[in-house]
Amino acid sequence: MKTVTEQQFKAIIAAVFGVEPSVIVDGLRPGQIPAWDSLGHLSLVSELERSFSFTFSMEESLGINSVADIRAVLAKHGVTITPV
């Protein structure tokens, strides 16, 4: 099991998309920021795999349509996100 803080979780996604971590909210969806296009999506999945050392299944990768979906996949793989 891996544990990260909320701040670290948001920082990983923010770095992929080149935005401030404050932009990373659960309701954020592809297309709402320019960098979250199909190729940005691929970069996101690759970076999450690298950061948390597991591989997304095809269904998991397809099912990510918001930041909240990312949390759900990480939780399924035993990643805990703590408030601080």
């Binding site: 296009d37 199909s38 940005g40 691929l42």
Partner: protein
């Protein structure tokens, strides 16, 4: 025939044809023609559009985009599609350069760009989708899209244009920091769409899922082709969400799905079974914009043996210069981009412009009906690019005995990342705006993931003012550039390789990687 007249012809031939649909709206050929007529009337009356005036269209892929585009052409104007995803800086630059008399955009973009638009003095009318919330902005009168397209005269104004007149300005990255407006005539666009239709045999039974931006010629060329041939266009903005993309291909019985090689790479990398399952009905797929690796061609051919995979090569300035259908040629030729398209001539020339024999490598020159007459208000660049031997493409290549062209490199310093081309100078100019940066040099390097073809790498010499890190500089670039232009890596170096004349030697930049500080 002019580009917009193909819409009238299709509407007359098959008025009930379901021509366009986006996520909110469906429109038959006759409905699209009627709406385009109303837009043309609004432009000629409210904006007093004269032949050759520019109409900027700042919309995403949508029924409204196509209606606005054909309406602008029917009004006799030159359409200037601009990608709403561009930075405000680039949009402002393009609007100032094009000096449009009218602009069509979404209300959300009007809110984002109000300060810029208010300062464009050439604008007489701004049409806002779906509706305008005020009457004026700056000197421009605001009109609501729904009001313009839902009532009034639908007959088109009398045609005042000729095939050799410009129909379109598309901004493209050149070798300068600023984008250049490529002029394309009605005749250019008709020749290109004729070749697309002929090669893939597009017909009224075809349904194409168009996710490519229509503000680029790859996507817009398919609009021309489908409107002309009378197929159905299902319009989306990009591939996401991917689960719905595959559902749409399957449920809507899509027969055509054009995509850049980077998208095919992504689909093969992650979603190969879904692609094979959902896309089994595809009749053909077009690809363009950058070379497709041979092993990807082989995998697509194996997954979809009944789908024709067609590549075309061509700059915006010479759309669809070659075609190759991989299933029709032996594998040894898959590195090629094919022979010249019908009506075009390819020659390979040396630095002095002399034609080189078969097998010799030199600059690819293109002549023929799809070649642009030049750049918008840039006579020097036009003269440099266009001459008696046609368009100097800036690409290096060679021709074989049967006229198949193989691209081997580039003369010009352009980076091609995921099919998007950009000038290193633009990225360098942004980096140099940072107070800590003394010098910056940018080059394209192979994408280690094998998806994008090239990615952008930057090398920076610091001025001593401040303590900028690669991460700080990358963030600075992200705030000022479109995502695909942001350097994937930024290396801080002591000095840049230069010629004796002081010009940066981009070909030697990668040598710095070994000596550079760790990058992010």
């Amino acid at each position: 025939m002019l580009v917009h007249e193909t819409l009238a012809a299709t509407a007359a031939r098959t008025p009930g044809l379901r021509l366009l649909e986006d996520t909110e709206q469906r429109a038959s050929a006759s409905e699209v023609a009627a709406m385009a007529g109303r837009v043309a009337h609004a432009l000629t009356q409210a904006a007093a559009i004269a032949p050759g005036d520019r109409v900027a269209i700042l919309l995403e892929n949508s029924v409204a985009f196509v209606v606005a585009y054909y309406g602008a052409l029917a009004a006799g104007s030159i359409a200037v599609p601009i990608d709403p995803k561009l930075t405000i800086r680039n949009i402002e630059w393009m609007l100032r350069d094009a000096e449009p008399s009218a602009l069509v955009l979404h209300a959300a973009q009007l809110e984002r760009l109000a300060d810029v638009i208010g300062k464009i003095e050439s604008l007489r009318v701004v049409i806002v989708t779906p509706a305008a919330s005020a009457k004026t902005l700056g000197k421009a009168r605001l009109l609501g899209w729904d009001a313009v397209t839902s009532g009034g005269a639908a007959a088109w104004p009398a045609t005042t244009r000729q095939p050799q007149d410009p129909a379109l300005i598309l901004y493209t990255s050149g070798t300068t920091a600023e984008p250049k407006g490529v002029l394309l005539t009605h005749a250019n666009l008709m020749a290109a769409s004729g070749n697309i239709i002929r090669t893939a045999e597009i017909n009224e039974r075809d349904s194409e899922l168009l996710t490519l931006p229509m503000t680029h010629l790859f996507g817009l060329g398919h609009v021309h082709s489908y409107v002309r041939a009378g197929g159905r266009l299902i319009l989306r903005n990009g591939l996401l969400p991917l689960d719905r993309l595959f559902q749409t291909i399957e449920q809507e019985k899509v027969t055509s799905f054009p995509a850049v090689p980077a998208s095919f790479a992504m689909l093969l990398e992650r979603y190969e079974p879904l692609l094979a399952g959902a896309a089994s009905r595809l009749r053909y797929m077009y690809t363009n914009s950058s070379p497709m690796p041979v092993d990807h061609i082989a995998r697509v051919r194996m997954l979809l043996p009944n789908t024709r995979l067609i590549m075309y090569y061509g700059l915006t300035e010479a759309s669809r210069s070659t075609f190759i259908e991989y299933g029709q040629v032996e594998r040894e030729r898959w590195n090629s981009v094919g022979p010249a398209a019908p009506g075009l001539t390819l020659t390979i020339r040396d630095d002095a412009g002399r034609a080189l024999p078969q097998g010799k490598t030199g600059e690819v020159n293109v002549q023929g009906p799809t070649v642009s007459p030049g750049y918008w208000r840039r006579p020097q660049e036009t003269a440099a690019a266009l001459g008696p031997d046609g368009l100097r493409t800036g690409d290096l290549g060679r021709l074989d005995a049967e006229g198949f062209l193989t691209i081997t490199g580039r003369v010009k310093d352009l980076i091609n990342t995921g099919g998007f081309k950009l000038s290193p100078l633009e990225v360098e100019a942004i980096l140099k705006e940072h107070p800590s940066v003394k010098e910056a040099a940018v080059a394209g390097v192979p994408d280690p993931a094998g998806i994008m073809g090239e990615v952008v790498a930057a090398y920076v010499v610091l001025s001593g003012a401040g303590d900028a890190t690669p991460e700080v500089l990358r963030r600075f670039a992200m705030e000022r550039l479109e995502p695909y232009k942001v350097p994937r890596t930024i290396r801080i170096v002591e000095s840049l390789p230069k010629t004796e004349a002081g010009k940066i030697q981009r070909s030697r930049l990668r040598d710095l990687d070994r000596a550079a500080q760790p990058s992010q």
